[in-house]
């Protein structure tokens, strides 16, 4: 399965956030790299989506959507820098 990148999550995450997550910069708590979410690697499957740091492969985030609920994990992100609207 080919991976995609964080750009592909702009739509799904726009349902939950008031700002565009893909241009937000996230700090990986695996290696400390700070990069736009769009640069992360995205592994999508019918069961859910795993987002990995493009520098160290650490899991940054997970997204599972089922029925009327979604579960968003941000276990690998220690900080986010976002544009103030």
């Amino acid at each position: 399965m080919d991976h995609l990148d964080g750009n592909a999550l702009a739509g799904p995450l726009a349902d939950y956030f008031a700002f565009d997550v893909t241009e937000a910069r996230a700090r990986c708590n695996g290696c400390g790299e700070v990069a736009e979410f769009a640069r992360a690697l995205v592994f999508a499957s019918p069961a859910g989506t795993v987002v990995r740091c493009s520098s160290c492969d650490h899991v940054l985030a997970t997204l599972v959507e089922a029925g009327e609920r979604a579960w968003l994990g941000l276990s690998g992100v220690s900080a986010l820098e976002v544009r103030r609207a």
Binding site: D2, H3, L4, D5, G6, N7, A8, A10, G11, A14, F19, D20, T22, E23, E36, F37, A38, R39, A44, R83, R84, A85
Partner: protein, 289 residues
């Protein structure tokens, strides 16, 4: 002045297909009229959601080939969709969807893989990226940023290199079109890897941009078949061919790469080897279906 987002806010919208025409043997160009569409910046995408009678839904992302409202009616959007055999959404969009059909779309999406003339002026001046809305031409923030750029005696905006693999050309064509429409002085080049002349997207539009006043150079690489009399035989893009075509790292271009995952990662690693700064390279990968 309250800061503003760099791109219009996204939302779900009802869209109607205005026209569908063949773009290549496997792709269609769809023009959509989208109710309440706030306009979009060049390079953004939207998600199309199809719902079956039993409630099953399939959602896929498509890059937008147009940008507005600078180019006219803000609620009109152009897509160019390549048919992915066995896909759930693209065969419908290419082969079935016709004028009058309704779609659900979510967008405009993504502020990362975007190029805007006014945002570049702000960047050249070292001004915080506060300008750059889709209506930049009429935006006092953008005008201020441009003035600041002049006052600071900023050098001309850094050149922009676009690198496309196959249908990955769609968001890059939107950027080139926005550059041409704005008469922007930023030097632009596009390197476009495509199977054959018959598989070219936006062939006429790109040729018009080459001839237009805004500086734009187009380099084509044919991987399966070339036009008659082409100086080199068909073949995959190589590192040497890439190096020969793109702005050198010493010119510190901003680089946008869009294509399949394999294409994007091959090109990005070559660019790094050639001395380009990873932060100057923006990539967008697309998958199937």
């Amino acid at each position: 002045m309250i800061g503003r987002p760099s791109v219009p806010r996204s939302g779900w919208h009802a869209a109607v297909v205005v026209s569908s025409t063949a773009e290549t043997r496997t792709a269609a160009r769809l023009e959509l009229e989208i109710e309440g569409w706030p306009g979009n910046a060049a390079g953004q995408h939207l998600d199309v959601r199809l719902t079956a009678p039993d409630g099953y839904t399939a959602t896929r992302s498509y890059s937008i080939a147009s940008s507005g409202p600078a180019t006219g009616d803000a609620t009109r959007v152009v897509l160019a969709v390549d048919r992915v055999p066995g896909g759930e959404v693209s065969p419908y969009l290419v082969d079935v969807a016709r004028a009058g059909d309704r779609l659900e779309v979510h967008g405009p999406l993504g502020a990362f893989f975007v190029w805007q003339p006014a945002a570049d002026a702000a960047e050249a001046a070292g001004v915080a990226d506060a300008a750059g809305s889709a209506d930049a031409a009429a935006d006092p923030d953008a005008a201020e940023a441009a003035t600041a750029a002049d006052a600071a005696g900023a050098p001309a905006a850094r050149p922009v290199q676009l690198i496309a693999g196959g249908s990955g050309v769609v968001p890059l064509a939107a950027m080139a079109q926005a550059h041409g429409d704005a008469g922007d002085a930023t030097p632009f080049r596009m390197l476009y890897s495509v199977r054959s002349p018959a598989d070219l997207f936006f062939a006429a539009e790109l040729q018009r941009l080459v001839a237009a006043p805004a500086p734009f150079r187009l380099d084509l690489v044919y991987t399966r078949a070339t036009p008659e009399g082409w100086p080199v035989g068909p073949g995959r893009l190589t590192r040497d061919a890439l190096e020969a075509a793109v702005f050198a790292a010493s010119e510190t271009p901003r680089v946008f790469v869009c294509g399949s995952t394999g294409f994007v990662e091959r090109v990005a690693s070559w660019l790094i080897e050639l001395g380009h700064d990873a932060r100057d390279i923006r990539t967008e990968r697309f998958g199937g279906t």
